[in-house]
Subunit: 196 residues, 2 copies
């Protein structure tokens, strides 16, 4: 049976971790990107569907394409970050279920049900994006997730065949702690939780 | 600057962690539930909106109400688990933004935009549900998330005023590792990721 991680590690993952908006020049290497995926991929998704897709935007050329669809308030953050991840999903993820869940037919439950497919893809790629944020922190990186961008414009630019679709963006890198904003409050347990 | 957590902790969070379907009798205490929320609440949401709501279902009476809306394949898992969490969202979360993001008016960007409200609430409560799964593992608990239930029936039973709405369910407790199924495969880096 597992025990709780030591307090400094809980701090690194949750309690002291902050959303970063400014970045040191330290790059995010290919090895780090692979290590990140090799952690996040293990966390759970519905029927092991793994609809999340991850586009790691690092080059100046790809950054320029991305900046065209980013909200004005996020342009500098994305420009400065060593890597911006497009957390996306495969809108036909169910076609891979025979490979991902070989012991049972999970695919036919989705065929011809576009609403169920979209809902499952969005929910589970969001879960996987959250796993990525915490996997980044577990590897000593910082994260800065963002929702402010034009989904249709980004999808047209990066996913012209229409199969992958964007969910949210997340800068990753090594944050400049001197440029953090004051932390906003959180809801009290009594306001967000009920025990029945 | 942070460094990577030691390998045994990465294993506990991601690499060796499994979705559990069978549970030991060890209970999930009030203190553990509070510790879980006190970790997950710090992880990021769009505009610090924190739309996620968490209903911890432990009592036999509340379990019985929940089981009415759970898919047949999930009934035994929910029945046996010491606690099943309804990961929900507040469909009027934006009314709390003046409290949660006091330095700027974030609320008015949502007023009168039901699609943006729903999309933001669903995406960010899913992120918060994923944070909960990893916070549980960080505390030495196991998790078993599930999508198979009747949303409308559950919401009518637990949230009759219509303000909170269900996103997904997640059993938490101390899993019985002897009853794990063989692990399903994951997508290769090349199939799920691109580096640009």
């Amino acid at each position: 049976m597992s025990t709780a991680l030591p307090a400094p590690h809980l701090d690194q993952l949750f309690v002291q971790a902050r959303t970063h908006n400014a970045w040191t020049p330290k790059p995010v290497t290919d090895d780090t990107i692979r290590a990140l995926y090799d952690l996040l991929k293990w966390a759970p998704t519905a029927a092991n569907s793994n609809p999340g897709r991850f586009v790691f935007v690092r080059s100046a050329e790809a950054k320029a394409r991305l900046l065209n669809s980013v909200a004005p308030g996020n342009v500098d953050k994305v420009k400065e970050a060593p890597c911006c991840v497009i957390v996306a999903y495969d809108s036909e993820f169910h076609d891979l279920l025979p490979e991902l869940f070989p012991s049972r037919d999970m695919r036919s439950g989705f065929v011809g049900k576009p609403e169920l497919i979209a809902e499952t893809a969005k929910r589970n790629s969001a879960l996987q994006g959250a796993y990525m944020i915490l996997a980044a922190r577990a590897l000593g990186l910082d994260a800065g997730p963002m929702s402010g961008f034009d989904h249709a414009a980004l999808d047209a630019e990066f996913f012209p065949d229409g199969r992958w679709k964007s969910n949210f963006l997340c800068n990753i890198g090594y944050g400049d702690a001197d440029k953090l904003f004051p932390r906003n409050p959180r809801l009290a347990f009594e306001d967000a939780c009920r025990v029945l």
